[in-house]
């Protein structure tokens, strides 16, 4: 008897799966309704929710550091025995929700998935160390070791209110450690794709920590071109020329270009190529960034086919030829900014090499003459420095990391994509910056 019933039911289901419409019409009655748990993940969910330890049980939130389209970063202190009084930066990802009253699950963004999965595998002293990830109440909290400083803050300190150059040892050690971290990423087939001073943290002990892997991705065996995944990568001022020329396939060399820009910025305390970004038009076509390219040409000179043989293969090559020709001025730029070291200038040339195939790679860069000559780079970039940098300021008006109070910063957007609005980062309490937000596009 029992078996017959079961089989009957199964035939119904089978029939239904073949043609649900006709089935419903034929029987004119609803399917047997199972318990409420049928479509949900209960009772599993109840069990998990009961056993989860809240982020607030382990960490005391001291205030928030920064906010952006990705979410918000909080400063926190360990509360449990094994992390007592350690400092952390907790990144809370924005949850896309339909309305401001209730947060709904809408799918984790590609950017969050990348950052979570990569950070769980990465382990290097010059990459921001992930402590743990807490998934709680529809939100993702990534707990990182705390970086008291970052290069943007340090550059600001040295240029305001008066101009005081960064000591050579600090500068050299910082670049060396960035390249060490980058070399580790590239050897593990990870592109960072958003290197800039704001994303380079420095700990209290003067150790560089490359942070924000929200745009990073693996590049071994891609199923589709890197371009089709993300149309625009890297904050405009640090974007390599091949990207500006519309490259569909690009290489780790784009990260080395950004390091070149950072080196120049640490030397002159100003962004090297401070172009203006052409905004996307409504057609969702990626615009040609003429102004940014112009800024590069003004300093590095117009690239030639002779020096960059694949130049005419880039989609925007025709646009490039419309721009006035410039000679190379990098050496003059270097000298006018007080640079005297030949090998440092050489490294700048090697990193800002137009042809990505010829650009210095991260591993080789560690043996560069500038690093092998005295003074050699050191583990503590603040060693022998007379400068004392202020602590990272925090906003204490928002300690509510779980978001019990309704928070209007959460916008609405669905699906898998990374945030697609220009990301103006407000570095809370660090003065007003004209720093450009990075842009991500569907």
């Amino acid at each position: 008897m029992h078996n017959q019933h079961v089989i009957g039911q199964q035939q119904e289901l089978q029939q239904l799966s073949q043609n649900p419409q006709s089935y419903l019409q034929a029987t004119n009655q609803p399917l047997r309704v199972a318990s409420n748990d049928f479509f949900t993940i209960d009772p599993y969910r109840k069990r998990k929710d009961q056993s989860r330890i809240s982020v607030l049980q382990k960490y005391e939130i001291l205030g928030y550091i920064a906010a952006g389209t990705y979410g918000k970063v909080y400063k926190a202190k360990g509360k449990s025995v094994n992390n007592l009084n350690n400092l952390y930066a907790i990144k809370k990802f924005k949850t896309d929700s339909k309305d401001n009253e209730v947060i709904h699950y809408t799918g984790i963004s590609q950017s969050a998935i990348r950052e979570m999965s990569l950070c769980k595998e990465l382990n290097h002293q010059n990459i921001t160390q992930l402590t743990e990830i807490v998934l709680e109440r529809k939100c993702i909290y990534m707990v990182f070791e705390f970086g008291e400083h970052d290069l943007l803050q340090i550059i600001h300190f040295h240029s305001h209110p008066d101009f005081k150059p960064i000591p050579e040892l600090t500068l050299k050690s910082a670049i060396y450690q960035i390249l060490q971290g980058l070399s580790y990423l590239h050897q593990n087939w990870v592109l960072h794709r958003d290197l800039k001073p704001a994303n380079i943290m420095v700990t209290n002990d003067g150790v560089i920590k490359i942070g924000d892997l929200g745009l990073a991705r693996k590049f071994n065996n891609p199923l589709q071109s890197l371009y089709s995944g993300d149309k625009v990568v890297v904050t405009i001022w640090y974007r390599a020329p091949e990207l500006l020329l519309g490259a569909r396939h690009y290489t780790p060399a784009i990260d080395l270009w950004a390091v070149g820009c950072i080196l120049a910025e640490l030397l002159s305390l100003r962004p090297l190529f401070k172009g203006e970004e052409t905004k996307m038009d409504n057609k969702k076509q990626v615009p040609f960034q003429e102004n940014q390219l112009l800024k590069i040409l003004e300093i590095l000179g117009t690239p030639t086919l002779d020096k960059w043989p694949s130049l005419n293969n880039y989609p925007e090559y025709s646009q490039l030829s419309k721009i006035t020709q410039f000679p190379s001025n990098l050496k003059a730029w270097y000298q006018s900014n007080g640079g005297t070291n030949k090998n440092c200038l050489k490294l700048l040339f090697d990193l800002l090499e137009y042809d990505p195939a010829k650009r210095l790679n991260a591993l080789d860069s560690l043996d560069h003459k500038w690093f092998t000559e005295n003074p050699k780079p050191v583990d503590n970039i603040f060693a022998n420095s007379k400068f004392k940098y202020p602590q990272r300021k925090i906003q204490k008006d928002d300690n509510d990391i779980l978001g019990n109070v309704n928070n209007p910063m959460f916008g609405n957007h669905h699906g898998y994509n990374v945030g697609n609005n220009a990301n103006k980062r407000a570095y809370a309490g660090m003065g007003v910056y004209d720093e450009q937000g990075r842009k991500r596009v569907r």
Binding site: I41, K120, K138, L223
Partner: protein, 279 residues
Amino acid sequence: MSANYWNSSQRNQWQFTRDELTIARNSLNTTTTTTTTYDSTIKLDINLRIYLHQLIIKLGRKLNLRQIILSTSEIYLQRFLLKVNINEINLYLLITTCIYISCKIEENPQHIRTLLSESRNCWPEFIPNDLTKLAEFEFYLIEELNCYLIIHHPYNSLIELTKIFKNDLTIDEIQSCWSIINDSYITDLHLLFPPHIIAISSIYLTLILSNDEFKLSGGDISKFSNSKIENLVRFLSISNVDLSEVIESVQELLTLYESWCYYDEIYIRNGVHNMLLNK
């Protein structure tokens, strides 16, 4: 690390011994809140695993997904079911969620609506028309996997190995290795051994199966050999690969194919549906 299996979470967090797997699975029956008194006839045995494997392929074909995406989702499925009892959740929703996440990890993201609607086309009676249910499961699945999402597969090892054995392997045989690896996700092999062991096993098994004498020898792989297999074994001994692990994998794959002969899809499907209706 993400490029190197030896430093990966796959090796350091998600590689087990057979005993560990048994203990983990046995403990599911006692610790989890199985609220229903319904005595399910369905167990996570090889038959159910073949069924789940085919569900993944079915949805994957609808979405036109690459094999590597499906393989990654099979690993998520296996790891999840090591920690959660099958009658605690909706298996069809689980499959859909595994694929949703693996598409993102393999950099071929599908919109959640696309995934949900294709999944509902496949199994309309078991997938809710509510994307928040899928997105909710994503959270719990990732939490259960402890956010370890990057997976190392045997396909790269196979490509490297076919360069070494290019004289011993025909195109058809390489294709066969590829298919054996695809099928290996039904078994526990990916929870037990490194990817290259599974790649080597697929070659070993292909060489055995392509030889008629093997069938006559009564299926004992230790007694069977020919020149191609000798080449392979010689290579293994030089390259420090654990031969006993290879033999064990080959044996497990053979067991899989034997079981497959007796696999009854309708019986399993009925069982799964009953379990769901009584959840």
